[in-house]
């Protein structure tokens, strides 16, 4: 791989990794905020209004950074991958333009929500919040269909290396779209719920009776215990789809080298391409056949059925997959634990050990999202469009791509440092002045 291709891929990966955090939280936060405001409208408890406003403030910072980093991505598609865009732009443009509208709607509704507390009737204000949540979800769905198309390209016909006929709707509704979109939206909800629950749990460990944080934790835990089990179901469906559509990706994810019936599930270990085996791994007999095809005896294609120059990087993909699945199961356990406590006691689960666990697991949702994107993107390599176009054919002829890569890396590091500092300050500094004070504009 030429160094310029490596830098182009790294820059794209970095931009996506940065953007996805804000995009995911931007999809999840509005749900929490709308639930809090809805509870305020129902119960008239001022603490819910406080919560909605605090969460809306957080949403505003994150949404703005997400909007800017999303703009960067739309440019980088052309700056780094002109070959891909010249070939595929016309096929995948429809979901991109729909995403543009969804984003526009989200910005408008968020504008009304943030600046309209005292300007629009309470019901309309709440509906604006619902608008933010729905349009945020729609933008995520539209963008993910584009990525799904790269995994399962459909809706076009080729002749002589060029696309001659396009059905944009069929391209958008490709076989991977539904599975991937559901998985991403749920991931956004899970990640946000755990992040927010972790923050409130942290403050509850200091002051166990703080109503603000108790209510906040309650709403976040409710979202977590709904979305985490759903995510397990969706992940299972997605894995089966990958097993059929992208056997190389599945084999790399699972460190599965040799095609066999009744394949065992490989957990951890070190994939060794030369020896065609994953060393030091835990193996669950027939586990992979069960997971990939819901059949203990099914044949699972290994990397041996794929030409050597079409293998993705097995170590990165396998480890990223195990990291994602591991984080997912830890979160499932914590969500199950809190759901069970709530079921038994009919009130907020507030055991100190649960709160500590929530603080520790707070970042796991985002970790899982990053790892999951690494799986799907690195796992598709060397293809940019599965089976149709290689990444090396798509990259810009521009030389010296190390310069923009280093520049953007510095910018993103700078932004991340500032952002962490600001969000931390926002939480800590306003803490004593918070209660009963209207911080609205």
């Amino acid at each position: 791989m030429s160094p310029d291709l490596t830098f182009a891929r790294s820059q794209m990966a970095l931009s996506l990794a940065f953007h996805i955090v804000f995009a995911a939280v931007g999809v999840g936060m509005p749900v929490l905020m709308v639930v809090a405001e809805g509870l305020h409208l129902r119960t008239r408890e001022p603490v819910y209004l406080d919560l909605a406003k605090r969460w809306a403030d957080g949403t505003a910072i994150l949404f703005a950074v997400g909007a800017v980093s999303g703009t960067v991505l739309s440019f980088e598609l052309g700056l780094l991958w002109p070959g891909f865009m010249a070939f595929a732009g016309a096929v995948i443009g429809l979901p991109f333009s729909l995403e543009g509208f969804a984003f526009f709607a989200e910005a408008i509704f968020l504008g009304i929500y943030l600046y309209g507390w005292d300007r629009v009737p309470a019901g309309a204000h709440w509906l604006a919040g619902v608008g933010v949540a729905v349009s945020g979800m729609l933008s995520a769905i539209f963008v993910v269909t584009v990525n799904a198309w790269m995994n399962a390209p459909t809706g076009f016909e080729m002749a002589g290396g060029r696309i001659v006929r396009i059905d944009p709707l069929a391209a958008m509704m490709n076989p991977a779209s539904l599975n991937q979109a559901v998985h991403m939206v749920l991931a956004a909800y899970v990640a946000t719920a755990f992040l927010v629950a972790g923050v409130h749990a942290f403050f509850l460990l200091r002051d166990h009776h703080d109503v603000f944080h108790r209510r906040g934790l309650g709403i976040a835990l409710a979202l977590a215990s709904v979305s985490t089990p759903l995510q397990a179901v969706s992940g299972d469906a997605l894995a089966r789809m990958v097993a059929i559509r992208q056997p190389a990706k599945l084999a790399a994810m699972e460190g599965h080298y040799r095609t066999e019936a009744g394949a065992s599930l490989v957990i951890g270990g070190i994939p060794d391409d030369a020896a065609m085996t994953t060393r030091y791994a835990i193996r669950i007999p027939r586990g992979l056949s069960l997971l990939a095809h819901h059949d203990l005896r099914a044949v699972v294609r290994g990397l041996d059925s794929i030409p050597r120059d079409e293998w993705p990087n097995t170590r990165i993909v396998h480890w990223a997959f195990d990291l994602m699945a591991g984080a997912g199961f830890v979160m499932l356990a914590v969500a199950g634990w809190s759901g069970w406590l709530w079921w038994r006691r009919r009130r907020l689960p507030d055991d100190r050990w649960l709160l500590r666990a929530l603080v520790v697991t707070a970042p796991l949702g985002l970790v899982a999202i990053e790892a999951g994107w690494i799986v799907t993107e690195v796992g598709r390599q060397p293809w940019i469009i599965q089976g149709v176009m290689r990444t090396s054919e798509a990259v810009t002829p521009m030389r010296g791509l190390i310069v923009p890569f280093v520049t953007f890396t510095l910018v993103y590091v700078f932004l991340s440092v500032i952002l962490v500092y600001l969000l931390r300050r926002q939480f800590l500094a306003t803490e004593p002045a918070r209660r009963g004070v209207d911080r609205g504009r």
Binding site: G89, I166, L230, A261
Partner: protein
């Protein structure tokens, strides 16, 4: 009108909207950096209020331009992004730093020194970004970016490193500054002293715009001959007359303090400048090799895109109008939380039912989605050394059979 031309018009319209909204935000950033005198702090506050509610929404016009170009005219997008890789990357850095500085300034401490540091970055990026934008648009008009056999032949420095492009950059700066100052005179109606500050700024930038426009026009003769020839054709003089009239009305109205008239005239001025530029460049996307016709995608895509844009417009314009309406509306008394009606009840059961139904529903939907692709089983207890296995999709595989189970498999190949 052909779909290609309709989409070209949409690109131009989006650029006009971007200039009128986002362009004015850049101008606001410039005046933020140049805020001076005893009321510098109030000027900044007024600017922040003007930009605050909707700046994220304004950005979408630029994204719309990008999306329409790469969907409807994919080769043009690839050419532009390759030839202008360097200025476009610079533009991005500018956009990122500007947006980040604005939002960080708002949420960082109210400390003056910290505030000033963010203001400086915000203001500097507000100067830099529109300049690079003007530079890039100038390069597209210059006619120096050439293709040979559909590939870029002129390298990464063609067009945007010329005096004409630089003049376009300066012109964009002046235009955005003038637009912002004129808008701000209306936004500060409740504070006549502050309004005078912005009136002076609008007048100064409006007057400076005239020589900048003249310079750009003169440099276009050598720097962008195709566009220059169009501008001096039959429709050139009426267009220049319209633009000049708008400019004169805007300046006079500013002078006589009819600020709403001034704003309307400035909007007219900017619109006619951009429309004139669009007409002069028509039908080229990149002068002279890439046109609306030769870069267009297949018709099915163009029609799908037009439908999506139409449907989106129907939904969004009313919502946008509502947003503006809300901010012209006087504030109501703040909502007070009162009462203690509890929201507890049978939520527990309801929640369990919802979660259960959702899991079942999702499983059913995703399973149905998968049904047609159910996997084929392996021949149980395989016999013979080599067996043929049919995987769920694609070619049959040849597999080695060892002690009753499959081992290594190969694609037989074509």
């Amino acid at each position: 009108m052909a779909a290609e031309h309709a989409l070209g018009a949409i690109i131009l319209a989006a650029l006009v909207f971007y200039t009128l909204s986002g362009g004015a935000d850049y101008g606001g950033g410039m005046w933020d950096l140049l805020a001076s005198g005893p009321r510098a702090r109030q000027q900044r506050t007024a600017i922040e209020h003007a930009i605050g509610p909707i700046w994220e929404a304004n950005h979408v016009w630029l994204i719309l331009v990008i999306v329409v170009v790469f969907t409807a005219f994919p080769p043009a997008f690839a050419t532009i992004m390759t030839a202008l890789h360097i200025p476009m990357s610079a533009l991005l850095i500018g956009i990122v730093l500007r947006g980040a500085a604005f939002i960080f300034r708002k949420y960082d401490s109210a400390d003056d020194a910290v505030h000033r540091r963010w203001s400086t970055l915000f203001g500097a990026a507000s100067f830099f970004t529109p300049f690079v934008l003007g530079l890039s648009l100038g390069a597209l008009a210059s006619g120096e970016i050439r293709l040979a056999d559909g590939r870029l032949a002129t390298g990464f420095f063609a067009g945007w490193t010329r005096p004409f492009a630089a003049a376009c950059g300066l012109f964009a700066l002046g235009l955005f500054a003038f637009l912002a100052a004129t808008y701000l005179t209306v936004d500060t109606e409740t504070d006549p002293i502050l309004q005078e500050d912005f009136r002076a700024r609008a007048l100064a930038s409006g007057l400076l715009l005239a020589p900048a426009a003249l310079l750009t026009f003169l440099l276009a003769r050598a720097g962008a001959p195709v566009v220059f020839a169009q501008l001096t054709s039959w429709w050139g003089p009426p267009l220049v007359a319209t633009t000049s009239t708008c400019a004169l009305v805007a300046l006079t109205a500013l002078w006589r303090r009819h600020f709403r008239w001034a704003r309307a005239a400035a909007i007219g001025q900017v619109t006619s400048i951009l429309v004139g530029w669009g007409l002069a460049q028509f039908p080229h996307l990149v002068v002279p090799d890439v046109t609306l016709m030769n870069a267009a995608a297949v018709t099915s895509t163009l029609h799908a895109l037009l439908t999506a844009l139409g449907a989106g417009g129907v939904v969004l314009f009313p919502a946008f109008a509502y947003l503006f309406y809300v901010f012209k509306h006087p504030a109501r008394p703040a909502r007070a939380g009162q009462g203690d009606r509890r929201a507890h009840g049978r939520i527990r059961l309801a929640a369990a039912v919802v979660v259960g139904l959702a899991i079942v529903g999702l499983t059913v939907v995703l399973t149905l989605n998968d049904r047609e692709r159910a996997p084929r089983r392996a021949p149980s207890g395989c016999r013979g050394r080599i067996v043929i296995v049919q995987p769920p999709r694609g070619q049959p595989l040849e597999c080695v059979c060892e002690s009753g189970t499959l081992s290594a498999c190969f694609s037989p190949g074509p």
